[in-house]
Amino acid sequence: MTTQHISVTVNGEAREADVEPRLLLVHLLRDVFGLTGTHIGCDTSNCGACTVHLNGESAKSCTVLAVQADGAQIKTIEGMADGATLHPLQQAFWDQHGLQCGFCTPGMIMQAAWLLDQNPSPNEHEIREGISGNLCRCTGYVNIVKAIQQASGQLQAGESAPVEAAATTAG
């Protein structure tokens, strides 16, 4: 079976592999490098669970061949925290209950990080548009939006959205 040698930098670490030309980047990350935080949720690039950063751009790693990533800088969810210190988005997703089953979360966080990189202070519509390539089946997106607002400094931890503050009293 023909293989091709590739070199990539993943989360700051130089990695090499001999791969079949048809190997998807997401399978390189998960099955070859053991970085299983990047998930697979569909066959058609709709769900975004596999979102990583490829040379600083958000990319769905199920839609990129590993050989196309030869020489690239790749960042995955495993590279977001600085040791014990969480990335502000990781902290915000936890604070705002922006995840339930957690399966879409790594892709959602990677996409949100890229969004904030492009637009450090997005309004709610811009946030919703910015994550519209990532599907979540559990949260209804409300708290994901709040988490991104918190990470961008627009909402404090523990702060609720105004509509809820007005409504969540026992009757």
Binding site: M1, L23, R30, D31, L35, T36, G37, T38, H39, G41, C42, D43, T44, N46, C47, A49, T76, I77, E78, M80, A81, L86, Q90, Q91, F93, W94, D95, H97, L99, Q100, C101, G102, F103, C104, T105, I127, R128, E129, I131, S132, G133, N134, C136, R137, C138, T139, G140, Y141, V142, N143, I144, V145, A161, V163, E164, A167, T168, T169, A170, G171
Partner: protein
């Protein structure tokens, strides 16, 4: 009822605190362990050859080319399984389903053969190389046609007296009284309502690693299951039936982290059984991970109910009777996961939130050439179908007699003082306050203001609608006298061990797929025993260690395992009282329990904390007492619980495109006492979105050849953040009178309540044009066609 009301500090984090989730640190770092993250030494991969035809005879399967593919180890066909009597398997509904067909395929995408190989890619190569010769057969897609006299029989394997496509008939209520009520009614409305086939589409698909150890005769099945103990028992029974040496003490089912369930991970799919069979035959671990297209085309579906409803009322709008006839399309096998006595689930809760004496409901299950199933989609056993029907009918009645839909509901509600309320189909609703919930929703959204705005807009020719749904849920299956699945009573356990240093390990029979059980169950224990949530570890999903349980679906975890967790905690507190009496040299009767400690009445400084008592349980216990501080409880609920709520939805419709825009959606829910408000709100946000989805976007349809037309996420439209409105949520609190902590369950309320609120809003916007009903999903195409037909531009 709670014997002692406990109040905890935020540091302890008992009931009512929005404790941040204990499971989140691993998920936000990408360190969760989902099934496809796990790989075992020597593992092989299994992939599946699927049928392109919805109905066909298999003339031959040629594996020779596949076996030449590098890495392919074996190809398994139905004929191979037949030798082990494993080619058919029982469903949870007591029907039979093929693992692999020997001669006939029954739906498009059905499993036809399995390829086992050394890698994911090699297995896929092998699948592409298997040559199957089919002879296409006629296809039945429409369940009504399946019931026609001359329809061919889809399941000739059934008994001689069942050589037709009718699976079962189920009815509830009094037909004669319902007929009489309808005959005597001033107003009688009649409507066909179709609730389409949909798919849960959890973002993680299904999968497993079957690991048979031939030396130890041990099967470990790592899998995506919402009900691991039931799976273990089913496997043991199937193995015994096939004469295989796999007995239940040597079967271990482990779930790890699960990426969403919603009912889709309750059934046993052929892929799991194939992986087990392959591992058994080869003696190596075998991994099967479904693609999304396989998941959408072959896994169990939800809904597919063809409902005909008749509602009678006085001319003032007082409901007097209801009669409902339904055809349930189950595909080629009834693979629902309903309790045994309830083949149509709890569909007979269809009288809803309204007080009227006479109702009759009947359902007929039917076979077609579609995937088997009938599981939930975040819905407690067919309650969504029931709520959609009654809430649409009530709305049509209101519009027909010219009464405001909110007013009509208020006038027909079961009143708070009527609880416990006996429904005409036999349920005893435990508690409720329906007018309060609707009034609260109306106040939040300014209902009178919206009606005024609507009138002004209508005068200008704009299309705006307001829709209400006042639903009653029925969850927490259930009491052992009525509820079982394949004979297993639906009671769930909790086992609590308090360690000497005052730290707690608790194991539960229910199974989280994102609900946050590691946090909420710890909060129940914190509330009952005063240990801080941080000191409590919750485990589940390993059948070797967790107590038995029927799993998590139907919003049953809090009503069942949640109750057993409270009851096991109370058993521990009872023993702690004896230990405290010993330590304090006082009578048990002289002790009082507050804030995590026992103190002598009148001498609050003479006290022992629960941590001191835990240490004494291992170091200083009275003669004659057993060492340790542990308890197990299996809770048999005396009744189901009945969460409820009122939702109000406002839509604007684009006349040019037919696009429905949900402008506002207020959801007032009552799930009884709340363990964690943050998590409850999250459940409701998610449930509302899974209600929006089938209301406006999702449905699985088939062409006349039985080909699935929504087999990928390109065609099966899950709402993104852009389609999803900013939900507005609020609560009323009516505790369950029989649940130990007064809770009711909440996971599915919003999925049940949202679709009719949205559909009612759309019809409300179009009623003046002569529109009475639009079946969901209400796509722009449907609305556009109606607008053109009515001459609106």
């Amino acid at each position: 009822m709670a014997t002692e009301t406990l109040q905890t500090t935020p540091e302890v984090g008992g009931m009512g605190h929005s404790v941040k989730r204990k499971e989140d640190p691993r998920f936000i770092r990408g360190a969760g362990e989902y099934i496809d993250d796990l790989n075992l030494p020597g593992q092989l991969w299994l992939d599946i050859v699927r049928s392109p035809y919805a109905h066909a005879r298999i003339k031959s399967i040629d594996s020779s080319e596949a076996l030449k593919v590098p890495g392919v180890a074996a190809v398994v066909t139905g004929k191979d399984l037949e030798g082990y009597k494993l080619h058919w398997m029982p469903t949870l509904a007591g029907d039979m389903q093929m693992v692999l067909p020997v001669d006939t395929v029954m739906y498009q995408a059905q499993e036809v053969a399995a390829v086992i190989a050394t890698s994911r890619y090699a297995a896929a190569d092998g699948v592409a190389a298997v040559l199957v010769d089919y002879e296409p057969l006629p296809v039945i897609v429409d369940p009504h046609k399946a019931l026609e006299k001359d329809a061919f029989v889809l399941r000739p394997d059934r008994a001689a007296d069942k050589q037709n496509n009718h699976i079962w008939h189920w009815e509830s209520g009094d037909r004669a009284k319902a007929d009489a009520a309808l005959a005597a009614a001033d107003v009688r409305i009649e409507e066909d309502i179709y609730i389409p086939r949909i798919h849960v589409a959890s973002i993680e698909t299904c999968g497993c690693i079957a690991d048979w150890d031939p030396v130890r005769q041990q099967l470990t099945l790592h899998m995506t299951s919402q009900a691991p103990h039931a799976i273990r028992t089913v496997l043991a029974l199937v193995a015994a039936g096939a004469g295989l040496p796999i007995s239940e003490q040597n079967i271990r089912v482990k779930t790890h982290d699960i990426g969403g369930g919603f009912g889709g991970k309750v059934p046993v799919y052929p892929g799991y059984v194939l992986a087990v069979a392959a591992s058994f035959l080869i003696g190596k671990p075998v991994k099967w991970i479904e693609d999304r297209s396989e998941n959408l085309q072959a896994d169990s579906f939800a809904r597919d109910y063809h409902i005909h409803a008749e509602l009678g009322a006085t001319k003032e709008g007082k409901i007097t009777g209801l009669k409902v006839r339904t055809i349930a399309d189950h595909g080629y096998s009834d693979a629902a996961a309903d309790p045994s006595k309830f083949p149509a689930g709890l569909f007979n809760v269809i009288t809803g939130s309204y007080d009227f004496p006479d109702a009759f409901v009947e359902v007929d299950g039917v076979y077609t050439n579609k995937p088997p199933g009938g599981v939930a989609y975040r819905c407690s056993f067919r309650v969504t179908e029931a709520v959609h029907a009654i809430e649409r009918m009530v709305d049509i009645l209101a519009h027909d007699i010219g009464k405001d839909p909110a007013q009509l509901r208020m006038e027909n509600f079961i009143q708070p003082e009527q609880f416990p309320y006996k429904s005409p189909t036999g349920w005893e609703y435990d508690s409720g306050n329906y007018p309060a919930a609707l009034q609260k929703a109306m106040d939040i959204i300014d209902y009178p203001g919206l009606r005024k705005e609507q009138a002004e807009k209508r005068a200008r020719g704009e299309l705006m609608g307001i829709g209400i749904c006042s639903f009653t849920e029925i969850v927490g299956a259930g009491p052992s006298h009525d509820f079982d699945i394949i004979g297993l009573k639906m009671n769930d356990g909790c086992e609590i061990r308090v360690h000497p240093t005052g730290k707690v390990l608790a194991r539960i029979g229910s199974q989280t797929q994102g609900q946050g059980h590691e946090t909420t169950y710890a909060q129940i224990i914190a509330e009952e025993l005063g240990f801080p949530v941080a000191d409590i570890k919750i485990e589940y999903g390993d059948t070797d260690t967790a107590p038995y349980g029927l799993g998590t679906y139907g919003s049953r975890s809090t009503p069942t395992s949640g109750a057993s967790t409270a009851m096991a905690s109370r058993k521990i507190r009872d023993k702690a009282r004896k230990l405290a009496a010993h330590l304090l040299e006082a009578s048990e009767d002289d002790l009082e329990w507050t804030n995590g400690k026992f103190s002598v009445k009148g001498s609050p400084d003479r006290s022992k904390t629960i941590q001191e008592i835990a240490f004494a349980a291992y170091t200083n216990f009275p003669q004659g007492m057993e060492m340790g501080l542990e308890a197990v409880d299996y809770y048999d609920p005396p009744n189901l619980t009945f969460p409820f709520g009122s939702y109000i939805c406002v839509v604007d419709i684009d006349k040019g495109t037919g696009q429905v825009n949900v402008r506002r959606f207020v959801a007032v829910d009552d799930c009884g006492n709340i363990i964690n408000p943050m998590i409850v709100d999250g459940q409701i946000h998610g449930g509302l979105t899974m209600g929006l989805a089938p209301a406006l976007y999702e449905s699985i349809t088939y062409d006349e050849n039985g080909t699935n037309l929504a087999g990928t996420f390109m065609d099966y439209l899950l709402p993104t953040a852009l389609e999803t409105p900013a939900w507005e949520v609020a609560k009323t609190v009516t505790p369950s009178p029989h649940h130990p902590i007064g809770a009711k369950g909440v996971g599915e309320s919003a999925t049940v309540g949202a679709p009719p609120a949205i559909a009612n809003a759309v019809v409300d916007a179009l009623w003046h044009l002569g529109v009475r009903n639009i079946d969901i999903p209400i796509t722009p195409q449907k609305v556009w066609a109606i607008l053109r037909e009515k001459g609106v531009s």
